[in-house]
């Protein structure tokens, strides 16, 4: 090499020199000068040191180290014609990033080549591209479809909802027309399916990679390898015959009520053997399974040479396609809607019934009270505008009928009572009426009898001036026909009545008279003695002892006599007395019977 054709700043001495690897400082001008020979060996007009510095700064920039590094790599910005591809390769990623950060020219520039490259790749062999984008494009398409469907779904939902009741009616009509049971018609219309088998089939060879069978399917899966190959053959046949791509060739096969749904992926096919008709949404399940399988065992699929054990890993994916979801089951009996209506109706009836029962029970309590009240007579009841109407007769002396309302739990507004005044023949009211009309002295009591007799009782000594006017007004008193004064007695009769009305009770088996009752008896005996003395009459008090019927008749007679004698002793000399015993002859009850153990009295005229 001569100095003439040798570039002044060749990188060769820097990389090939013995000190080149020691660092960029080695590339100082003295070394350069040494390597390149003496300055005088250079062409004419040798550069001055100032020229060299200027040149170096121009070439290396202010950052000498970085520039020197570039120089050492042969990356000379001043010599684009000698670009080394490896060098470009090293900086290309960074270069792209820098440029991309600056503006969008790079993207625009690359658009064309990338498009052409992709096109060429697909034309040459589409499989790698399909493999690459398959896991991405499936979900993307689904998302787009979901978005598009979302809006129409709303209206579909509405129409289904509105259609529900009609559907039921239509099916009933159809059942009636066809003579089928309603259940059968529902079954016909109701979507129902079961996925019995799912097969994973290698697309190219038609070999069965994996298959799963739903439980309790007799004989299923025995010929899965044949089915798998046959499906593939049929798909290929259809694809060839109709000149369509295999992906479009065959989506489903229908054999009787068995459907085979086929979902192809780039390397493998998922086929579901379904009894009945699945909803279109099941296609989505298969699609997702295909994608999952391709994402899960990509190598086993791509490099498949017959080994099927790797596909055990996707068993769960296939099993997830064994959609055991039955569609709506036919229901027997009443629909929930109808049951709800019936329950509501029943509830309303019960509520009304309880209200009616409650109201009517309160009203009948009110009416019962009216019936029982003296002087009130309900003639008729009715109902007007929800109110109870009572039409009846009311005695002026009767209790105010409104007092029964509150007791029965009724408001005044609940009842419209219309009373006509009438005189009651109720004996209590007739007696009151007679008492008001006759005005007897307080000691005289009037009682009315059913036959219209007014019976007066009381002492005969009472003032009798009321009797004459009473007889005069008697015809004017409703319910009173006669006045009976036989009940009016003189003192003696009253005294005799008082004594004879009394019976002294005795204790069990004893003859001692009870002190309290004895005192009452003695007071009456005194009054009798006094009345007799005033009238100058004499009486004999007959004291009879009684027992219950326990014990022998003899013992009873003796006990009775003892009781009579005990009372006789108490009477003393107030009255003439004679005693006798009836034993249990006048017993008031059987066996041990306290009321039978007594002493009774009779007042007898004294023997002349």
């Amino acid at each position: 090499m001569t100095p003439d054709d040798r570039p002044v700043f060749s990188p060769i001495p820097l990389t090939g020199g013995d000190g080149a690897s020691d660092g960029p400082h080695e590339v100082e001008s003295p070394r350069l000068g040494t390597e390149a020979g003496p300055p005088e060996a250079l062409p004419a007009q040798p550069p001055t040191s100032a020229d060299l510095r200027l040149l170096r700064r121009l070439l290396l920039g202010r950052d000498g180290d970085d520039a020197l590094d570039r120089v050492s790599r042969g990356d000379l910005p001043t010599a684009p014609a000698t670009l080394d591809p490896r060098s470009v390769g090293r900086v290309l990623p960074d270069a792209v990033r820098f440029r991309e950060a600056e503006d969008e020219d790079l993207g625009d520039a690359l658009a064309g080549p990338v498009e052409r490259g992709l096109k060429a790749s697909v034309e040459k062999n589409p499989q790698p591209v399909v493999d690459a984008i398959f896991p991405v494009i499936g979900p993307a398409i689904r998302r787009a479809i979901r978005h598009a469907m979302a809006q129409s779904l709303e209206s579909v939902n509405q129409s289904v909802n509105y259609g529900l009741s009609w559907r039921g009616l239509k099916w009933r009509a159809e059942a009636w027309r066809s003579g089928l049971s309603f259940g059968e018609v529902v079954l016909r219309h109701t979507l129902q399916y079961r996925v019995e088998e799912v097969l994973l089939v290698h697309r190219e060879t038609g070999l069965l990679l994996k298959h799963v069978v739903a439980p309790d399917i007799p004989g299923a899966g025995e010929d899965a390898d044949l089915v798998s190959a046959m499906l593939t053959a049929v798909r290929q046949f259809v694809g060839d015959s109709f000149d369509v791509s295999e992906d479009d060739a065959l989506e489903s096969v229908e054999v009787g009520d068995l459907n085979v749904w086929i979902e192809p992926g780039p390397r493998a096919i998922v086929a579901a053997v379904i009894r009945g008709h699945p909803p279109e949404s099941y296609r989505e399940t298969l699609r997702r399974a295909v994608e999952t399988i391709h994402a899960k065992v990509p190598d086993a699929l791509t490099r498949f040479t017959g080994e099927i054990t790797p596909f055990d890993a996707v068993t769960d994916v296939l099993e997830s396609c064994l959609d055991a979801a039955y569609a709506e089951e036919p229901r027997e009996g009443l629909s929930p809607r109808l049951v709800f209506l019936l329950v509501a109706l029943l509830g309303a009836l019960v509520w009304l019934g309880v209200r009616w029962w409650d109201a009517s029970s309160r009203e009948s309590a009110y009416l019962d009270a009216l019936e029982e009240a003296p002087g009130l007579e309900v003639l008729r009841t009715d109902r007007e505008a929800g109110r109870l109407v009572v039409i009846g007769a009311r005695d002026p002396l009767a209790v105010d009928p409104d007092t029964f309302l509150a007791a029965a739990g009724l408001e005044a507004d609940d009842v419209d009572a219309r009373w006509v005044t009438a005189f009651s023949t109720d004996t209590a009211l007739v007696a009151r009426r007679a008492t008001q009309a006759f005005r007897p002295p307080p000691s005289v009591r009037l009682e009315a009898r059913e036959d219209g007799t007014i019976h007066a009782t009381g002492p005969a000594s009472a003032d009798t001036s009321w009797v004459t006017p009473a007889r005069e007004v008697l015809p004017l008193v409703p319910g009173a026909d006669r006045l009976d004064l036989s009940g009016l007695m003189d003192d003696l009769s009253a005294a005799i009545r008082e004594v004879e009305d009394l019976a002294l009770p005795f204790g069990d088996n004893g003859a001692a008279p009870p002190p309290d009752e004895l005192a009452i008896f003695l007071a009456r005996a005194d009054r009798l003695a006094e009345a007799a003395r005033q009238r100058g009459e004499t009486f004999v008090l007959e004291i009879t002892g009684h027992t219950d019927d326990r014990g022998t008749p003899g013992a009873n007679r003796a006990l009775g006599l003892a009781r009579a004698r005990a009372v006789e002793a108490a009477v003393g000399d107030r009255l003439a007395v004679r005693t006798l015993s009836r034993g249990a002859a006048d017993k008031l009850g059987e066996g041990a019977h306290p009321p039978s153990r007594r002493v009774t009295f009779r007042v007898l005229p004294a023997d002349p």
Binding site: E204, T205, G206, V234, I308
Partner: protein, 172 residues
């Protein structure tokens, strides 16, 4: 039967009336209704064999003879791990054709194991293929069997050989 761990697709090819279907019928244990053969041009059968003590599921695709005249168009042949080429020993022209087929298959599907079955071994009187030719083919590396679908001669052997080669090929 122990669980199959490897499944292979093998195809029968050959001109019509060489006895492919009879060979398969001799050999296999399960098959689809033969109605399919006329409908879509392929009959699929299954046979489980053991290769080196390992259970192998063979799925046998019996391609309709008519299609075999243009096998390279047949998508049915795709992915086959082995080919059983069937010739009729009473018509040597079928052997010529099947040998030519092998070239076409290799071109279309790459190196794939092949076994040659020269069928109708039972028809001795009509035999049309020189033993020398068969020996030459064997010397050439052919796995070659004189089979008889009628009496079963060497049918198992031919398929077993194919299975063995196919497994070896699949395993690389």
């Amino acid at each position: 039967m122990s669980q199959t761990t490897i499944r292979l697709k093998v195809c029968l090819v050959g001109v019509p009336a060489v006895g492919k279907t009879s060979l398969v019928r001799r050999y296999v244990e399960g098959t689809f209704s033969e109605d399919y053969l006329t409908t879509i041009g392929v009959r699929i059968s299954r046979k489980r064999v053991e290769v080196g003590g390992e259970p192998v599921g063979l799925v046998v695709w019996d391609i309709n003879g008519d299609d075999a005249f243009a096998p390279l168009q047949s998508t049915y042949l795709r992915g086959a791990a082995g080919f059983l080429l069937v010739a009729d020993g009473t018509r040597s022209v079928t052997l010529d054709r099947v040998l030519a087929l092998r070239e076409e298959l290799a071109e279309a599907f790459g190196p794939t194991p092949c076994v040659l079955a020269v069928n109708k071994d039972d028809l001795e009187d009509e035999w049309d293929v020189d033993d020398e030719r068969l020996d030459a083919l064997r010397a050439d590396g052919w796995e070659l069997w004189r089979t008889s679908a009628r009496d079963g001669t060497a049918v198992e052997e031919a398929f077993d050989a194919l299975a063995r080669l196919a497994v070896a090929h699949a395993r690389g």
